[in-house]
Subunit: 287 residues, 2 copies
């Protein structure tokens, strides 16, 4: 496929995909710094470092999966990908801006899922993306906090940071994006939320303003999440707290495998299974 | 709903649902006997016993979930259910014998999923069922062996028992049922089989012969699976073997949550989440 035929604005595509890689590097740096800082549980182990693995997509593009198995982070993955090509015909009806006779798409994004050893520190998910089809181009993303044992002040700090971020941008509709996260990250068959929420947004027309908002979501996440981990990472935990974490993680795996659109889309369309399922917890229980 | 309006043959319905409960009792008895027999690893613990929990279905019927957490079986569940009512309109097109203006159904079955502590002993799944809709009534079922570390002679013995069972019945088309299991119990996104196979059959017209076959599948399973566990249960295992088992179980959880029709149907239609997800492994890893 010649670059001329790709949908979307070439300059914005280039800037967005470069930004997602920059954000990935900054996220990896702060998470590695936390590994260095640990003086609490498991600090006899060496600090973790990310390992990167590149993958190619048969239909066009590819990505890099970065995974760290450390002493604070039991498993954390940060994926970037930039892919393009033609949507399969049955799938075109489900993607805004695609039409039966024009299934071209271009998509780039960064996603992070972190699972800490400590049940007292929160797991987390963050994703931002820029997608273009023949007739539309948009930004989307979000972040939600997944503490096995929620702490009210941490939850409040996470929401406050995202609320302030939204408040800095005309397109940042915080009440709507927060409710969207509550609706989306819900384990319907159990009638419980996956975590304590955050924001979720999608189909925000791609322009300089929505790109600025998307960058700010990434930077806001990069500031608040490490702070929440630092608050809790030095404290020892009990076997009972660890057990509760493992059961909580089972619910998390259920959500990702049964409901998460990105996960199911990836699995159903032949994506790289290891990269798609990077989000699954390192250990989980269904006692 | 008056009993007169239920689809299917009343005598066969009554006999089948009673049989599934009888088979449940026999399966529980042999698995509890294995718990008593253990002299190998974890034999310092008390032998496990099943605990039963009844549940009702809002639209009609209900079931009993029997779960044992023992010293040979880390977690084994045996569910029986007999449910009836009206299929939702969008779902009628997917169920043989249902029509847009007649969504009556009656369904009864028994299912078993066993996960052993030992990675050297096989996990297993077995299910048999009788379902009736307005214009059809059938038996279905199957069993597949899920050893984390397959042993060729055990796999051969499992397949031979099922082959011999099929050979005793005119409707027992072993080559077809074995291939059906290979197709069904396949983790497509990883390109690997869930286990080492078995049989899977469905939509076999309900009559005395197919009921006899279905009973024999249950009895055959009750004879062969305990024998395979007894062969392996006394041997100690290594940490590395346990680790391989936990990763194998992660794949098993992926299959059940992403592909298994019964699991997804149950979750999407508001069934009892604990009973539906009884099949999930007690512990799993995605390292």
């Amino acid at each position: 496929m010649s670059d001329l035929r790709l949908p979307g604005d070439p300059a914005l595509r280039a800037e967005a995909s470069a930004w997602f890689e920059t954000l990935r590097d900054r996220l990896c740096a702060v998470l590695e710094a936390i590994e260095d800082e640990q003086t609490g549980p498991l600090s006899d182990r060496p600090p973790g470092r990310f390992e990167r693995t590149a993958w190619d997509r048969a239909g066009g593009g590819g990505g890099v999966m970065a995974v760290m198995k450390g002493r604070v982070f039991e498993k954390v993955g940060v994926n970037v990908s930039t892919v393009w090509g033609e949507l399969s015909e049955p799938f075109r009806g489900e993607v805004p801006g695609a039409s039966p006779d024009d299934g071209r798409f271009w998509a780039s994004g960064v996603s992070l899922v972190a699972h800490t050893h400590s049940p007292l520190a929160p797991a987390v998910h963050m994703n931002t993306r820029h997608i273009a089809t023949a007739a539309m181009a948009w930004f989307g993303g979000g972040a939600d906090l997944n503490p096995p044992l929620p702490v009210a002040e941490d939850t409040a700090a996470f929401h406050a940071a995202l609320r302030d971020c939204c408040g800095r941008h005309p397109c940042g509709d915080y009440p709507r994006f927060r409710e969207w996260a509550d609706d989306y990250f819900f384990i319907r068959h159990r009638g419980v939320a996956r975590g304590v929420g955050g924001i979720f947004y999608d189909y925000i027309d791609a322009d300089g303003a929505s790109f600025a908002f998307t960058r700010d979501v990434g930077e806001t996440f990069r500031a608040i999440y490490p702070d929440l981990v630092r608050r809790r990472m030095a404290k020892p935990w009990t076997d009972e707290e660890r057990e509760r974490q493992l059961v909580y993680r089972g619910r998390y795996a259920e959500f990702n495998l049964v409901y998460d659109r990105g996960t199911r889309f990836g699995l159903m369309t032949g994506g790289d299974a290891d990269a798609i399922l990077m989000s699954l917890p390192p250990e989980a229980k269904w006692p």
